[in-house]
């Protein structure tokens, strides 16, 4: 039986359908990612799960029993919630933010003190702990928020785009420390993201688009849906070139953000023929890479996951 099951979640805002029967299952101890572009319904699902927003339909089950986070304080006590915009008080120091966070969940003072010291060490914030949080970098703020959210030892950690605003190095550090923590204690994580690099950190993923799940599996399984490697072609007239590639090689190229993407089983053999097919000057650049989760999304929807991810 799954630990968390979100079943047929529906939500609309006026005419716009944000969630259209979203269903996902998360096993205990798993890191589960919800990958989708902005506007796919990720944040809506996150807010319903955190009890901040009401659903129009569907239900949430925890350990098989239906739950309503908005109405059940004891359930909320089992959740840890990380927001897209860190929920910190910038005027207070890192340590004070942690102290208030522990008090909010009635963590006994002596235990809180010990956990705060441990968390400051684990998240490498100890030397800046007594500075106002507004002086922290984006990565530090994110780590401080994660440290605070873990003080009451939640069973389920729910994170909304924790990588937003972070550079790649900060993102790796954040996930490395989270991985370190998962070695020490069991923690189930549900994370929403539109970044393929972040999605790679998950054990399993649901790819969502327009409020529903369009594919599910481990990152490897999802990548395997792209046949072979991906060839990227840059050209002055991408649509025209794409048509020519389709006719000549019986492939299905896609033009995404002005770039041609071609999935090909034996890409290294195709590239020389491709280059020879066009007179010099028509192609600006040709490249080849293993498929990423961004390619999976393109394959599934014909659209890009995010402008910057391409």
């Amino acid at each position: 039986m799954s630990f968390l099951r979100i079943e047929g979640l529906h939500r609309r805002f006026g005419e716009r359908v944000a969630l259209d029967g979203l269903t996902v299952e998360v096993a205990r101890g798993e890191t589960f990612g919800v990958l989708g572009p902005n506007g796919a319904g990720k944040s809506t699902a996150f807010q319903i799960l955190a009890g901040m927003l009401a659903a129009d339909g569907g239900r949430i089950l925890l350990d098989g029993a239906p739950v309503d986070p908005a109405r059940d304080p004891q359930l909320r006590a089992r959740l840890g919630v990380v927001f897209q915009q860190p929920s910190l008080d910038g005027k207070l120091t890192g340590r004070e933010n942690l102290q208030l966070g522990a008090s909010l969940y009635c963590v006994p003072r002596a235990i809180a003190r010990r956990r705060i010291d441990d968390a400051l060490d684990l998240f490498e914030l100890a030397d800046r702990a007594d500075e106002p949080a507004e002086r922290y970098s984006g990565g530090m703020r994110r780590r401080l928020e994660l440290a605070r959210v873990l003080l009451h030892e939640p069973e389920l950690l729910v994170m909304d785009e924790p990588s937003s605003g972070l550079d790649q190095a900060s993102l790796r550090r954040f996930w490395a420390q989270l991985g370190e923590l998962r070695k020490r204690r069991s923690l189930t994580i549900l994370v929403t993201t539109h970044q393929p690099e972040e999605a790679e950190q998950c054990d399993r993923l649901a790819v969502i688009d327009r409020g529903r799940v369009i594919a599910e599996g481990t990152p490897e399984e999802l990548r395997a849906r792209v046949g072979g490697d991906v060839i990227t072609v840059e050209a002055e007239a991408p649509d025209e070139i794409a048509r020519a590639i389709a006719e000549t090689f019986a492939l299905a190229p896609r033009v995404v953000d002005g770039r041609i993407l071609v999935e090909a089983p034996r890409a290294h053999e195709l590239i020389p023929r491709l280059v020879e097919r066009f007179p010099s000057g028509r192609l600006r650049a040709v490249g080849m890479r293993p498929p990423s989760l961004a390619d999976v999304f393109v394959k599934l929807t014909g659209r890009a996951l995010a402008q910057e991810a391409n």
Partner: protein, 278 residues
């Protein structure tokens, strides 16, 4: 050494819902007080502006107008209770306007997803605002002798009761407006068309008895006017009837009753709005 982040074998009993609610109130109050004492400019701003108002407007009008029914009370003295209510109003506005941003990208988000009920969030935020306002009002009350009030004659229990009730009412009204509007610009508009007029029409600047037509009637319906009247009565203490009769012609009991009812209604409205989930 065993790490505190390691899972403990036996799960400790979860704290009761009541304890979690009280904890949230405590957290919000602690946070507002820490922030207040850390931001010196805020402390100064909330005091200096009313002080300037008092001296400039009070001093400026003092020689020009004599108020009917004000007896020998100078305008500086008449204006003083109103200025203390203005200190309370400004503090309420400052502490609740921040709710708008705090709710979308600040610490308040963490409190909203915590086990705390929405009512305890309103109570915590209101109580924080009230304590900050009381500190500011206390500093301003120390100036009472300069307004011609005798500190010994002051009816302190009445002054404290009226100030606390008025402050609860204005803080939770501010919270309700901030929550409902959910936009800083919107809040600014409401501040100038609702909150400031509430104060202007409270008897802070002029008595209802001298106001023309509808204005006087309007003032009788303004709950803030009963706060100002009660505060004025308390400041004169036993000598109220002798030195001033510019209240609403009511009694201390009525004034307290109205501000208390105002406070209860405002808290209830804020709690109701805050509990609504979109």
């Amino acid at each position: 050494m065993e790490s505190a982040l390691q899972a403990t074998a036996a799960k400790p009993a979860r704290p009761s819902t009541l304890r979690l609610n009280l904890a949230a109130i405590g957290v919000l109050v602690r946070r507002d007080l820490k922030r207040f004492f850390r931001q010196r400019s805020r402390v100064a701003g909330a005091l200096v502006q009313p002080l300037i108002f008092w001296l400039v407007i009070g001093g400026g009008l003092a020689g020009s107008f004599r108020m009917p029914g004000a007896g020998d009370v100078g305008y500086i003295q008449y204006f003083y209770p109103g200025i203390i209510v203005l200190v309370v109003l400004f503090t309420s506005i400052f502490t609740t306007m921040s709710v708008i941003e705090d709710r979308q990208g600040g610490f308040l988000q963490a409190v909203l997803v915590s086990p705390a009920s929405r009512t305890s969030i309103v109570l915590g935020k209101t109580l924080g605002g009230v304590l900050v306002a009381m500190v500011q009002a206390a500093v301003f009350l120390a100036l009472a002798p300069f307004a011609g009030f005798s500190l010994r004659a002051v009816d302190w229990p009445l002054v404290a009761a009226v100030l606390v009730a008025t402050s609860v009412a204005l803080s939770s009204l501010g919270f309700a407006l901030a929550w409902w509007l959910n936009s800083t610009q919107g809040y600014h508009v409401v501040m100038s068309v609702l909150l400031i007029p509430l104060w202007v029409l409270s008897g802070a600047m002029f008595p209802a008895s001298g106001a023309r037509g509808g204005i006087g009637a309007l003032m009788k319906w303004n709950p803030v006017a009963y706060g100002v009247a009660g505060l004025r009565r308390g400041l004169y203490g036993a000598r109220f009837g002798e030195l001033s009769s510019t209240g609403l012609g009511s009694s201390a009991a009525l004034e307290l009753l109205v501000v208390t009812a105002f406070a209860i209604v405002a808290v209830a409205a804020a709690a109701r709005l805050c509990a609504r989930r979109r």
